[in-house]
């Protein structure tokens, strides 16, 4: 427990000193909300029960933040430390790998949670965004999505050879994930084949899940998205556990 606490503390400090990562985790999501709010406002859109553009977009931005954490932040931090030999130095101490992971997950989740809180606060207070769903439901959906994308990140770290490959692979995955998430361009206007492919996009399902919870839709209506996101969590964790090398 002492090792976990000390390590989480040091990793958190390191995360805060990495100004680029802080920008992407905290400032960028809130900044996107501000940009979006000023660009489109949150005036009710007629066909959607008094909901505005930002009401729709807030949960999508939240899901996007989680995906970015998994695609870039998690593998960059882990592989950067592996490349430098820091993990190897940890390996010759009594520190258990599970303790390291627990501390790393804590910090990554904490960072995502702060980013999320900031995003919803700016959206709600700055532009009057409202969902109508229960807070507990939003938190549950956010926790599941965040955990799934973290697992995705650890799986990437397990499969990639070093930190230098992370931006390349991350971007190659990020662009189609974003494009086919339904949050940037409406999927309805896309050809049938593209829509089929999009069904496999975990980001699409995370957006659906978070938006559903935010709007207070019944969980039964979100079952397929819950299944895909939970599947990503299980598959990612399994790949990471089976394939990750500490040195």
């Amino acid at each position: 427990m002492r090792a976990y606490r000390s390590l989480a503390y040091v990793l958190a400090k390191l995360a805060l000193r990495d100004h680029v990562a802080v920008f992407f985790a905290l400032a960028l999501p809130a900044g996107l909300v501000v940009l979006f709010g000023f660009a489109f406002g949150n005036a009710p859109v007629s066909q959607e029960a008094g909901r505005g553009a930002l009401d729709h977009q807030l949960p999508a931005i939240a899901a996007w933040v989680f995906a970015m954490t998994g695609l870039f932040s998690v593998p960059m931090a882990l592989l950067g430390r592996r490349d430098a030999g820091t993990l190897r130095r940890f390996q010759v101490t009594p520190l258990r790998p599970a303790t390291y992971l627990a501390a790393d997950i804590t910090v990554q989740l904490g960072q995502a949670a702060v980013g999320l809180a900031l995003l919803f606060t700016v959206g709600a207070l700055g532009f009057g965004a409202r969902g109508g769903g229960a807070v507990a439901g939003v938190i549950a959906a956010a926790a599941l999505s965040a955990a799934a994308f973290l697992a995705f990140g650890y799986a990437l770290a397990a499969l990639l050879p070093n930190a230098r490959t992370v931006p390349v692979v991350g971007n190659v995955l990020a662009v189609p994930m974003l494009f086919l998430s339904g949050a940037t361009a409406p999927l309805e206007v896309m050809p049938e084949a593209v829509r089929r492919v999009a069904e496999f996009n975990p980001l699409l399902h995370a957006v659906t899940l978070l938006r559903g919870a935010w709007f207070g839709e019944p969980w039964s209506a979100l079952a397929s998205s819950v299944a895909v996101v939970a599947g990503l969590l299980v598959a990612g964790s399994a790949i990471a556990a089976a394939r990750f090398n500490w040195s």
Binding site: R2, A84, R88, R89, V92
Partner: protein, 262 residues
């Protein structure tokens, strides 16, 4: 690694405590491999490894609680401040002393708020020694501790190694500087292509080449080497080296002062 090497290296851990045991040999001889096997990072292809009577694979955490390791290729995040990793590593061990005491021992107490990135090569190695000492280990493994250090920093590192031995720990170090092995080690194993080709005390290893004694002394006036060489039994007369000049001009102690009497 060959079975023979693993077996032959085993004795030092059972040796009386407070020893500096050197592993020397050309690049690729297997020096680092031995230390990796001892710290449980690598599984030997054959043979048995015991550290403090324990198997570094099966009892890895029990072994790691009692050994301190400095690795050749290991770096800390540049953004850390010097004191932070020491406190962090102290938290990894069930019993530890004062982390600041470990920093003081390596002479970095005043640099504890500095960024790791701002340390010189010698200071960085000393920080890694502090990390290896923070839990008062019984066995300390040092892998090419002084390879990239300047002569003065190397002398400082030697002083630290001696201090570790004075406190009763066994130090097992690899080096490819014969001078370092000669001055620092009580016993030395010479390995070549994965095999131990010699293992003994420094004095006996040197003596094994022939009945030769080395006498080191300083003198004030110039002495003609030839007159010494003419004395009965004198085989060779050595003069100060460029390294001695470097140390004298850059503030180090004269290297002749700590040569082993053999």
């Amino acid at each position: 690694m060959s079975r023979r090497l693993v077996h032959a290296i085993a004795p030092p851990t059972g040796s009386p405590r407070g020893e500096v045991f050197g592993i020397v040999g050309p690049n690729g001889a297997g020096k680092t491999t031995v230390l990796e096997c001892m710290s449980g990072l690598r599984r030997p292809d054959a043979g048995a490894v015991r550290v403090l009577g324990l198997d570094p694979q099966a009892d890895r955490y029990a072994v790691r609680e009692r050994i301190g390791v400095q690795l050749q290729a290991a770096a800390l995040p540049d953004a850390l401040r010097v004191g932070e990793p020491v406190t962090l590593f102290a938290a990894f061990y069930p019993r530890t002393g004062d982390p600041m005491e470990a920093l003081r021992r390596v002479g970095l107490e005043e640099r504890r708020a500095a960024r790791v990135a701002a340390l010189s090569g010698g200071q960085r190695q000393r920080l890694f020694i502090a990390l290896a000492l923070v839990h008062e280990p019984e066995v300390v493994l040092l892998d090419e501790l002084t390879t990239r250090l300047d002569p003065q920093a190397r002398r400082d590192a030697w002083a630290l190694v001696r201090e570790i031995r004075e406190r009763g720990a066994t130090v097992i170090l690899t080096t490819h500087f014969m001078e370092e092995a000669e001055r620092l080690c009580d016993r030395v194993a010479i390995i070549d292509r994965g095999r131990v080709v010699a293992l003994d005390s420094v004095g006996r290893l040197i003596a094994s080449l022939g009945e030769e004694r080395r006498v080191v002394f300083t003198y004030e006036d110039a002495i003609d080497g030839t007159s010494l060489r003419g004395l009965p039994g004198v085989v060779r007369v050595e003069r100060p080296t460029l390294e001695d000049v470097f140390l004298a001009r850059t503030g180090g102690a004269p290297s002749v002062g700590d040569a082993p009497a053999t």
